[in-house]
Amino acid sequence: MSTFVALFTISLNAILAENFILVKFLGICPFMGVSKKTDTAFGMGLAVIFVMGLASAATWAVNEFLLVRLNLEYMQTVVFILVIAALVQFVEMFLQKALPALYQALGIYLPLITTNCAVLGVALLNIQNGYTFIESVIYGVTGGVGFTLAIVLFSSVRERLEDCDCPKAFKGFPLALIAAGLLALSFLGFSGFKVFG
């Protein structure tokens, strides 16, 4: 039971209180780049959930069985980038063959994620927080869910901003940045909660 509560705490934290984009400010690049339309934002979100879960599992294993054994923890960043990049490439090839429908749905977003700092961030945070394997995977997947929540919310805001009548200097990107700031402020409210101690 206590594990369940711990996992629930991790999930809720990853989705709301420690949202990767709006609280930790990781993965801002796709957040601004792919948020013009809600359906593309959702596609990106799905791909991020998928990759973050996989990357958490792979990097946890690499760290535990390779880096820790050889006292090479200081190489985490470099090794994780290598692992994630290779993993994404491999998964892309595998999906194209085995699940063409999913491959079509994730489309160009999959290779885009290779260099996403949210994915590297989740791998490093797993180690920093001392999570077990299960906890790491849960943290990765729910972190992706948090990412999806933020980017879908933001894209619907942006779709409305497209049509608004605003000063020319604010049109487009500046207004989007302001909206992102306000959204981040609102998510700060969640960190007031302490979930289950």
Partner: protein, 275 residues
């Protein structure tokens, strides 16, 4: 020393291992792609305009390969693309007539029915004010929704009226699709004689709301020796199978709305109304 050695070793071994795995995986998971697909896609303009009805150039090329689509549906690529694609597919080339979009309005409806100050988009203007804020029920609204969909920089709003640059226009007809007033129509690039009005109102009413709208006076019809122009529902319509581009109707039209050269030069001489 040992530490550095381990670090370098681990990283290079991992790199090499991943490289090998990916190389093997690319062989195992290789998906067979018809070698004609990239060739066909290369024949197309690559603008992914969607004028053919498919999601993009590659989707259309795939459809041609699958036999679901015929060669020559790509308006943007025109005859060149059709020729190149026919060569790849090994079939006879088909002749494709170049079509361009034309705005059938010169926007002189100087009496707005209502003042519209909402979102600067024709669709929104049509929605909010019933049938649009202009007194003419068929004229161009000039908010430039068509300009936002043009991938070729070929349509612009000049003095409150959308105007197509026929040489830049590739005929993808995205503007025709999106125009809520349906005032943009496809015409053949070589069409010399065009009617630049879409108004079906009766002459007396058209006179009140527009200086250069078609009043259905039938003068063009009487001038034509080839039975090629007719007033249908208060608007002159040209039958291009009979038209020989003699230009007599254009010369006779009291409203000067029949153009002698596809709105490219003649119509520019007539200044459009300022809004």
């Amino acid at each position: 020393m040992e530490k550095i050695l381990y670090a370098v070793l681990v990283l290079s071994v991992m790199g090499a291992a991943f490289g090998a795995i990916l190389a093997i995986a690319s062989k195992i998971f290789a998906v067979k792609v018809d070698e004609r697909l990239p060739k066909l896609t290369a024949c197309l303009p690559g603008a992914n305009c969607g004028g053919c009805g498919y999601a993009g150039c590659q989707a259309y090329a795939q459809a041609v390969l699958d036999g679901k689509a015929s060669i020559g549906q790509c308006a943007a690529g025109g005859a060149d693309a059709a020729k190149a694609m026919s060569a790849v597919m090994g079939v006879e080339a088909v002749e494709v007539e170049k079509k361009v979009a034309m705005v059938k309005c010169r926007g002189q409806n100087h009496l707005p029915k209502a003042r519209y100050a909402g979102i600067a988009d024709c669709r929104s203007a049509m929605f909010v004010t019933g049938n649009g804020p202009s007194a003419c029920p068929n004229g161009c609204l000039g908010f430039g929704t068509c300009t936002t969909v043009c991938k070729f920089d070929a349509i612009h709003v000049v003095n409150g009226v959308a105007r197509v640059d026929a040489d830049k226009c590739t005929g993808c007809m995205q503007c025709v699709e999106i125009c809520p007033r349906k005032v943009i129509v496809p015409v053949t690039y070589d069409a010399d004689i065009v009617v630049a009005c879409s108004n079906h109102e009766r002459g007396a009413k058209t006179r009140k709301i527009c200086d250069i709208g078609c009043i259905g006076c039938h003068l063009c019809e009487k001038q034509c020796e080839y039975d090629a122009i007719h007033v249908i529902d208060n608007l002159a319509v040209i039958d291009y199978s009979k038209c020989v581009s003699c230009g007599r109707c254009a010369a006779r039209c009291p409203r000067h709305l029949i153009s002698d050269s596809n709105l490219r030069t003649d119509m520019d001489a007539v200044p459009a109304m300022q809004r």
